[in-house]
């Protein structure tokens, strides 16, 4: 199985990423993807993301390995942006290729749920001149916990 993990400031070319993922083999029948976008909630003007570089790629690779152990996957691409993002910009891409759609959908959700509560990224919201750190949501912890049941 191919795994591509990238942390970058610049936006990504989703068509190119999916084309690379689909090259993973003739038995790919299903690709599930998720993209997260910056919402313009309550007059948000920018989102600034920082991360722990030495830990991020390791932590995501660990989640990919777990997804691979749980589902028969043909390829995974995870792209996460850092730095300053404007409303409407994409933050994250998770794409999972498999033979059948059940595995692709479930692994894609699993990886998003795990990213949300384990990957070392932190978001700061800016509204005009005011900056505020985003607080972790209990709902995200719940979403990740359901994969342990």
């Amino acid at each position: 199985m191919s795994a591509t993990i990238k942390i970058q400031g610049e936006d990504f070319d989703i068509a190119a990423e999916l084309a690379a993922l689909a090259k993973g083999g003739a038995d790919i029948g299903a690709v599930a993807t998720f993209t997260g976008h910056v919402r313009a909630d309550d007059g948000l003007t920018a989102l600034v993301l920082e991360h722990y570089p030495a830990m991020t790629a390791r932590e995501i690779a660990r989640h990919v390995a777990e997804a691979q152990a749980r589902w028969p996957l043909r390829g995974v691409t995870i792209l996460h942006r850092v730095g300053r993002l404007a409303p409407g910009e994409r933050i994250v891409l998770v794409a999972v290729a498999a033979s059948h759609r059940g595995a692709a959908f479930e692994a894609c959700q699993f990886l998003m749920d795990y990213l949300k509560v384990h990957a070392p990224f932190w978001k700061q919201e800016e509204r005009g001149g005011v900056a505020r750190w985003v607080e972790a949501k209990p709902a995200d912890a719940d979403a990740a916990a359901r994969w342990r049941q």
Binding site: Y52, M55, E59, H80, A119, P120, F121, W122, A136
Partner: protein, 83 residues
Amino acid sequence: MNLLYFAWVRQKVGKSEETLELPDGVSTVRALAQHLSMLGPGYAEAFADPGRLRTAVNQEHATFDTTIGPDDEVAFFPPVTGG
């Protein structure tokens, strides 16, 4: 040892990274956090409520009970909010 701070922990401490000799009698993340909280007002504020903090030892999620040694990299940060 190498210490890293992220998000508001970094802002309160006033730096993102520093090196420190492992203090005598400190063998867990909890003891290290207590030690750091006494290094100044920024540290005191950052480490005032350990319940709001998370930690990683050598780039892996850890708990305040995790044992640490002189060559470890220890990071302190709030709960993550990526994705």
